[in-house]
């Protein structure tokens, strides 16, 4: 690998720009592929560019045989994102655990006494009302959205924006009863049954969690499960 190729990848990662590195495994030649450009010996090879761009979408690095040669396509996507509505107790362990798992985490909460750097060291905080915050952060297919406030005034506006996005995971804290009320409100707001059914509620895998940290584990486990099942489904399609 050329030193400038390595520097370019690091610069792209720092700038949260997606890039794929295509390596000819015999010759060692390398091409950097972006969504709308490419740089390297294979920069005009339409088949390779197409494969690399699909790999970026699927977040999947692997070896491809193209024209009798082996190429390793390595995807350097920006981190997955997790947007948490509610700077509540569960959000503290969840934001830390998700960060450790590689997520770029933002906690959205307009209540200044909850969303403090003391309670969330090193975590990005957004003090907007959840619908504004959510719109600003614009969840995409590499984003998980979790609402934790228990308060429809805060959770619902966040969910309404998330349901219109491609977020790969949407989860909402609350009992079955709480969720039934939520489903009614969202349906009244014009969302279809299929749309509302995207919400994982009660949030998290049923592993008998009691403490906030344990609930965070169950949420992160479910997010992980959904993430990898979706990637597998796309790869199989």
């Amino acid at each position: 690998m050329k030193q400038e190729t390595l520097s370019q990848i690091l610069e792209d990662q720092a700038g949260k720009k997606a890039v794929a590195l295509v390596t000819d495994m015999e010759a060692g030649d390398q091409t950097l592929v972006y969504r709308d450009s490419a740089n390297g010996p294979e920069q005009d090879n339409a088949e390779i560019l197409n494969i690399a761009r699909h790999a970026m979408q699927d977040d999947r690095s692997k070896i491809h045989e193209i024209g009798g040669r082996k190429y390793f396509v390595e995807v350097f996507n920006p981190p997955l994102r997790m947007l948490i509505v509610g700077a509540v107790h569960i959000a503290q362990p969840l934001s830390r655990m998700a960060s450790v798992a590689g997520y770029d985490v933002t906690v959205i909460d307009p209540r200044a006494s909850f969303a403090t750097d003391e309670r969330f060291p090193g975590i990005t905080l957004n003090g907007e009302w959840p619908d504004d915050g959510m719109r600003e952060l614009d969840p995409d297919r590499r984003t998980a959205v979790i609402t934790l406030t228990h308060d429809p005034k805060l959770d619902d506006p966040g969910l309404e924006v998330a349901l219109k996005s491609d977020a790969f995971y949407i989860g909402a804290l609350g009992s079955r009863k709480t969720h039934a009320g939520r489903v009614e409100r969202l349906t009244a707001a014009g969302f279809t049954e299929a749309e509302v059914s995207r919400i994982h509620a009660p949030v998290g895998l049923a592993i008998g969690s009691i403490s906030p940290a344990e609930i965070a584990v169950s949420i992160l486990a479910q997010v992980t499960e959904v993430l990898h099942r979706k990637v597998e489904a796309r790869a199989a399609a």
Binding site: M1, K2, Q3, L6, S7, I9, L10, Q13, T23, M25, G28, S61, K62, I63, F72, E74, V75, P79, R96, S99, V100, A101, G102, Y103, D104, P121, G122, I123
Partner: protein, 115 residues
């Protein structure tokens, strides 16, 4: 913790590449090993990195620790020759058992020099 995120350095491979780049900037010879395919119960996923410099310093991993020693030896060769190499470790490779890839999987590791 360059960006103040509590996770940086724990889960992402950025630090391996950053370290490789900074060794190279300091004028050291560096080789980079990347997991390019896995089969069975391999402990580290495709895209995992390990970097080695000429002094034998290592950052990152390509397995749960079972084949790192062998990969580092090969990486030293690649640093000399400048020619990339794809290594295979697994159930069909006796060396892998010797060095302990007892996890029952197989992996291919691409090793290249950082020029």
């Amino acid at each position: 913790m360059a960006d103040g995120n509590i996770a940086s350095g724990l889960s992402q491979d950025d630090d391996v590449l950053n370290e490789a780049a900074s060794w190279r900037k300091d004028g050291r010879n560096v080789a980079l090993a990347t997991v390019v395919s896995t089969w069975g119960s391999s402990p580290r996923p495709v895209g995992s990195h390990l970097a080695v410099n000429e002094n034998g310093k290592i950052v990152g991993s390509v397995s749960g620790g079972c084949i790192e020693g062998a990969v580092v030896t090969e990486a030293m060769d690649v640093m000399e020759s400048g020619k990339p190499k794809t290594l295979e470790y697994g159930v069909t490779n006796e060396l892998a058992w010797e060095v302990g890839l007892a996890c029952g999987g197989s992996i291919h590791v691409y090793v290249e020099k950082v020029e």
